[in-house]
Amino acid sequence: MKLDAATSAGDIPEGLIEPSLYVGKVTPGSLDDQVLAFPETKPPRQWYFALAITLTAALIGVISIGYTFYLGIGAWGNTSPVFWAFDIINFVFWVGIGHAGTLISAILFLFRKRWRNAIARFAEAMTIFAVICAVIFPLIHVGRPWLAYWLFPYPNQRALWTNFRSPLLWDVFAVNTYFSVSAMFWYLGLIPDIASMRDRTTSKLRKIIYTVLAMGWRGAATHWQHYEKAYLLLAGLATGLVLSVHSVVSFDFATSVVPGWHMTIFPPYFVAGAIFAGFAMVVMVLVVVRETMQLKNLITMRHLDVMNKVILAMSCIMGYSYMMEGFTAWYSMNEYLHHAFMNIITGTYGWAGWVTISCNILIPQILWFKKARASYFWMILVAVGVTIGMWFERFVIIVISLHQDYLPSAWRIYKPTMVDFGVLLGTFGIFFTLVLLFARVLPVIATTEVKAILPDAQPSHHGDDHHA
């Protein structure tokens, strides 16, 4: 790897030199030619093949949802006492996936982690797609989707208002805010890049579309000044959202009295889990992106290495949270809580509990080894494992807690139906369809942000003579 001009100079000990954020020679012009020319090329055959698969999955989802609409919620496995099942599991799962994007674009921006610049765009796009997948579930779970607007507090003939003390309503606000803010953040970041595409395209139609989307961006210093400020402010605001959205989602459970849900550790535990699952998804997708889109010089093994470290750290937090659950069950001397916890490791669904623990806690420990962090095999294994594990974690929380609560006469085993699986598969289809489309039509790397961190991108006398 070549060293940055800025960091290689001087007498910094070798181990402390920050490795370069890209491989080989990258100039602003070559960056544009590499990243922005991509949407103008013809997609390869593999892309159509992948799109066919994801569209098929999405179609299965649409059919499953259509069947649910036709027959009613009875098409699913939900039944007393497990009224929340796949729908809420999938909702929490997808909202969680989105959190990595916001963390990368917001928190890492505030921490001035420059490696985020190359991957932020893709991660933000994944956030938006994940939230789109997530909101499908509350909408179809209400049973009468044409009345879903009743979720919002609006003046109506019935003189009824929503209950502002219900965490479900907090969810409505949290998820809507999250989507709006993510979309705004993403779009603002895209504007200068779209302007670049506008000025390089030769196609007439593309020129018109990009001209409208870029809103007449012309790169004026007066504009950049406000733009940078807005980006910083948005990063600060989105940082609050990373921590708040999944906290609010966890309130859906934590504020109830169901044993296994009623715990104060839930908000931080959910946020960590969300970032964990999201990073796994980002690693999975970025490995494919860098291989298929010839972006190995911009999304380097260093990026993957750092992200794997984040996954490892989150895995440790998850391990701590699981242990705290067990500790609370034991220390509280509450027999209901104790029963709920024992169900996770020895009950009918004990296998799900162990899938969760192995996929989330045990397998990621391989990432302590540098070689594993540099190996596709291990990082994909961990990422797929974490995705499965985090889905099962929500299954454990929701189904295991619900299927046996205070009233033994109401206990029942929950069995999902094919329609449940169809809807889940469908959201994966929708998510990856959107990812594939995004990769073809918009710049997958924030070229403007990467240009700003190239060597010599900033004036060398910066900070010396203009603070007079």
Partner: protein, 380 residues
């Protein structure tokens, strides 16, 4: 005299060259100095002498406004307009409002930051800026750093500006002509726009007409919408009388609704209304009358209710002399036991409510047959 031009662009290859040129070009005082760059250059705002972006203050104000809005909205709904007690907390307990306050704060602040930056401060979208149609724009959004001297008035000297920029180290110079000052909204343009809108309306209208004509209304959620259950007021073949909504079994006594006036109507004539004629009693009576009596007996009690026309029923005209002469007790008896087609209202109305509605019927009768003295009382 040179041709009137809007600005002169000087192209620089590196940000360093750009930054070194800025002070030189600024001291020439030939026009407004502006830079166009592919990405934000650190320190350029100080070099150009730009004022700090006011965006932070705007966002702060709007964020606080968002928090106050959310708190006020939730408090008004949960404590004033529709008070509900949840989890034993008082209607005005504000702690539960915090999550939504936070979300709305972020929402307001985000939209202020995003749209405020784009629209209020940067005046975008704007597609008419001369730089957008310059040759240099391709470099601006790619890898060139451009310093521009822009005209402040008619006296802009593009030759001197070009010279100043070249002396400052610009490798290329581009002079931008002044933008076309002809009015944007020419009559031709307006006509074409209106014509386009009209054509779009016609097409959309025809499309909707034929779409609804040729394709029958599909009900994709048929089973969820039409459930096998009886709605209120619906007919049902299941019951002998054909009513979906069954009357309570004869003699049913709801909790707290004691049977009264069990004898004949004549026997009830001697009952005396125990309620005083206060504003509250009349308010209750009016509410009960509106809810339970008005559909048949009409808003003023003249027997012309909204149901009369639909069913051809003939409810009593309470304004008739016969009923005006009724003692309170006989009206009360009719409410409790029902009369002719009228069902008993005993299961639905408490004793208080029944007597209140009697008072209200009396008020209706008096209002419809007002004497001069009543007018004097009313207008006093």
């Amino acid at each position: 005299m040179p041709e009137i031009s809007y600005s002169v662009l000087g192209v620089f290859e590196t940000p360093d060259a750009l930054m070194h040129a800025i002070p030189k070009v600024r001291t020439s005082k030939l026009g407004t100095v502006e830079a166009y760059t592919p990405y934000a250059i650190h320190g350029i705002e100080e070099a150009l002498g730009l004022r700090r972006s006011p965006l932070g203050g705007m966002v702060l104000v709007m964020g606080i406004l968002g928090a106050i809005t959310a708190l006020g909205f939730q408090y008004w709904i949960s404590a004033i307009d529709y008070p509900i007690i949840t989890g034993g907390k008082g209607a005005g307990s504000w702690e539960a409002f915090i999550p939504i306050m936070f979300e709305v704060t972020v929402l307001f602040a985000t939209f202020t930051a995003g749209l405020g930056m784009l629209h209020l401060l940067n005046r975008l979208p704007f597609f008419g800026h001369p730089v957008l149609s310059s040759k240099s724009i391709k470099g601006i959004t790619r890898d060139r750093y451009i310093l521009a001297l822009e005209a402040e008035d008619e006296g802009f000297d593009s030759v001197a500006a070009s010279k100043a920029l070249r002396e400052a180290g610009a490798t290329e110079i581009e002079v931008l002509p002044a933008p076309d000052r002809s009015p944007f909204l020419t009559s031709d343009y307006i006509l074409r726009t209106l014509g386009g809108i009209f054509a779009a309306c016609v097409v959309a209208g025809l499309a909707m007409y034929f779409a609804t004509k040729w394709f029958p209304l599909l009900k994709p959620m048929a089973n969820m919408q039409d459930q096998p259950r009886l709605n209120a007021q619906k007919a049902s073949a299941f019951f002998k009388d054909g009513h979906g909504m069954q009357q309570p079994v004869v003699g049913t006594v709801a909790r707290g609704y004691l049977p009264t006036a069990t004898g004949t109507q004549e026997e009830a004539a001697s009952l005396v209304n125990p309620l005083p004629r206060t504003r509250e009693v009349f308010a209750t009576g009016r509410k009960v009358y509106t809810n339970r009596c008005e559909v048949c007996h009409g808003a003023v009690g003249n027997g012309v209710g909204s149901l009369t026309a639909a069913y051809g029923a003939k409810p009593a005209n309470l304004q008739a002399q016969q009923f005006r002469d009724y003692p309170d007790g006989k009206i009360y008896w009719a409410i409790v036991n029902g009369k002719n087609s009228m069902p008993s209202h005993a299961p639905y109305l408490s004793e208080q409510e029944r007597w209140s509605v009697v008072h209200y019927v009396r008020a209706l009768q008096r209002a419809q047959n007002a004497k001069d003295e009543d007018l004097k009382v009313a207008t006093r």
